[in-house]
């Protein structure tokens, strides 16, 4: 079966985000951008499914500015077979991303779509569930294990109380949690090879999707800063402080 993996270009997780002085957003000029870490996990999982003979083709999709091409090339270097870039100016919200992905699913007829559980820029955690709603397919969110068996996929989910397992009929939507796998690094030869893999360029209009935002960002501010407190010299002093706070008798 075919597997679609949507990948988002985001501020690298090692970079400390800085709020712009005018309060309009986070400063993304001249900072390192990378593939959303959860999406790397999604690409890795798709490659493992292909190595097991379950997946036949992996299509990476990104929606965003032209530079998202770099993110797609990374997915291709890891092992995706081809890529689709839907270029759009300005931010595209999860609902619109889900609509574009739905249109792509209509064309491509995948057996699985594997997304990240959340993009670490906006921390929305919505797109996979929305795509599942629009396609009318089952959803296995926050996956720490995926097993495909015929036309069923069994997904172990990381939930608040522990783990939960659901069985979905394919086609289905899966979103990845951190412990699903450890993504591989692309080797230099594979990075070279990725340059000649097919990358189709599209626009939202090609799919008839309106990407106008429904939410307006009124302002973006720094959170209240915490003051560093005092260091204590030893355990006795810590015990005294904890007792003074009423934490210990």
């Amino acid at each position: 079966m075919k597997v679609i993996v949507p990948v988002k270009r985001v501020l690298d997780y090692n970079v400390k985000p800085r709020v712009k002085a005018d309060g309009s957003g986070v400063d993304l000029a001249n900072v390192k951008m990378s593939m959303n870490p959860f999406d790397e996990i999604a690409v890795e999982e798709a490659i493992r499914l292909k190595e097991k003979g379950v997946a036949t083709e992996i299509v990476a999709v990104s929606i965003g500015e032209a530079k998202a091409q770099e993110t797609l090339r990374t997915a291709l270097a890891m092992g995706a077979d081809r890529a689709i870039l839907v270029t759009a100016e300005g931010p595209v919200e999860p609902l619109a991303v889900a609509k574009l992905l739905k249109a792509i699913c209509d064309e491509e007829a995948p057996g699985l779509v594997i997304l990240g559980k959340q993009a670490i820029d906006d921390d929305n955690n919505q797109t996979g569930q929305m795509l599942a709603a629009l396609t009318g397919w089952g959803q296995g969110t926050f996956a720490s294990k995926i097993e495909v068996d015929g036309d069923k996929v069994q997904v172990t989910r990381e939930v608040d109380g522990g783990l939960e397992t659901v069985s979905l009929s394919t086609p289905a939507i899966v979103t990845t949690d951190l412990r699903l796998n450890e993504p591989r690094y692309a080797s230099l030869p594979n990075i070279m090879k990725a340059k000649s893999k097919p990358l189709a360029q599209k626009t939202p209009a090609d799919y008839g999707v309106d990407t106008a935002p429904r939410l307006t960002i009124v302002s973006v501010a720094e959170p209240a800063k915490r003051q560093a407190g005092a260091k204590v010299a030893d355990v006795d002093e810590l015990v005294t402080k904890l007792k003074a706070m009423g934490v210990a008798k």
Partner: protein, 309 residues
């Protein structure tokens, strides 16, 4: 405005996260609750006692037994015919269901709200809480998930809402519950605990994690948490993880043991009232947010602390 709140429960009791969501809904207008599940008459009665609730809708059907989003979302959509906002706690259940509802309603969800500024304007954290965005929704209906630590809990007693049965929308046959491994613990729940002791990678092994962290937590009547590194290494189960992609906590006291203080970890605990850090590296970033810091080797300090408390 009429709001509909998803009641998170375990089949017998209403979970605390619901109470904060009721408070958020109350800032928008009239609060109605939805109790969905199998044999949830008792839960509905408990929900009806929550202060400030106008009505409890109960959907008692096997199809809702495990809160599968594929079955629950169409039920919520039907009820949204006569409600203006749907609010769910930002738990794994709420996060699984709410966006499915939002897309069916053609609404852009506002995730993990921290405050209600007006009928259509909310604040929410982005970039792991390194920025707070104020967002205004232009959708006619609102779909929101609510960060539990950001709102006071509504009183669990004192209300007397009417209970109304709603007809089930059936099993959509898209997914099936297979099983769950839910850790039973005598300790308080992480997200509602007053005191949390969290361990990091420095604990070094599963055995040492439990030998050092558990007795200290027991002494304090605390819940136990962990960093992602500790969970990934197998020292602690996944449901202990605190952070951007784990649980968001805000206890009275958070004791971080052998945790460096990566931004993804801070995202989950920096709203704690008092932060205590134990780390052998005096330059560890955790000390920049700690109210009380102790520089030392945890293998010496933690047993001594447990002993002296």
């Amino acid at each position: 405005m009429k709001t509909l709140v998803w009641v998170e429960h375990d089949g017998s009791a209403v979970k605390d996260a619901t109470l904060a969501t009721v408070t958020a809904a109350g800032k928008l207008g009239e609060v109605h609750l939805l109790v969905a599940g199998a044999n949830v008459g008792g839960v509905a009665e408990a929900a009806a006692k929550i202060a400030g609730v106008g009505k409890v809708h109960v959907a008692d059907d096997a199809a809702y037994g495990h809160a599968l989003a594929e079955n629950v979302a169409p039920l919520v959509v039907e009820l949204m015919g006569h409600h203006d906002a749907f609010l769910a706690p930002a738990t794994t259940t709420g996060k699984n269901i709410a966006p499915r509802v939002a897309a069916l309603l053609d609404v852009m969800q506002v995730s993990e709200i921290l405050s209600v500024e007006s009928d259509d304007t909310f604040t929410r954290p982005i970039y792991a809480g390194n920025a707070i965005a104020t967002v205004k929704s232009s959708d006619a209906k609102k779909v929101l998930t609510v960060r539990g630590t950001a709102f006071e809990k509504a009183a669990a007693e004192g209300g007397s809402a009417a209970i109304e049965a709603v007809s089930a929308t059936g099993d959509k046959g898209l997914s099936q519950f297979v099983g769950a491994e839910i850790a039973a613990s005598e300790r308080p729940e992480l997200t509602s605990a007053k005191i949390i002791v969290s361990g990091g990678r420095a604990l070094g092994s599963d055995e040492q994690f439990h030998a050092l962290i558990d007795p200290l937590a027991d002494k304090l009547g605390a819940a136990v948490g962990a960093s992602r590194a500790a969970v990934d290494a197998g020292y602690a189960p996944n449901d202990y993880q605190v952070g951007q992609t784990g649980k968001i906590v805000a206890p009275e006291v958070y004791i971080a043991v052998g945790i460096s203080g990566a931004i993804q970890h801070l995202a989950g605990m920096k709203d704690s009232k008092t932060i205590v850090a134990i780390n052998k590296d005096e330059d560890a970033p955790i000390f920049q947010v700690a109210d009380i810091g102790l520089v030392g080797d945890l293998f010496k300090v933690v047993p001594e602390l447990t002993e002296k408390l």
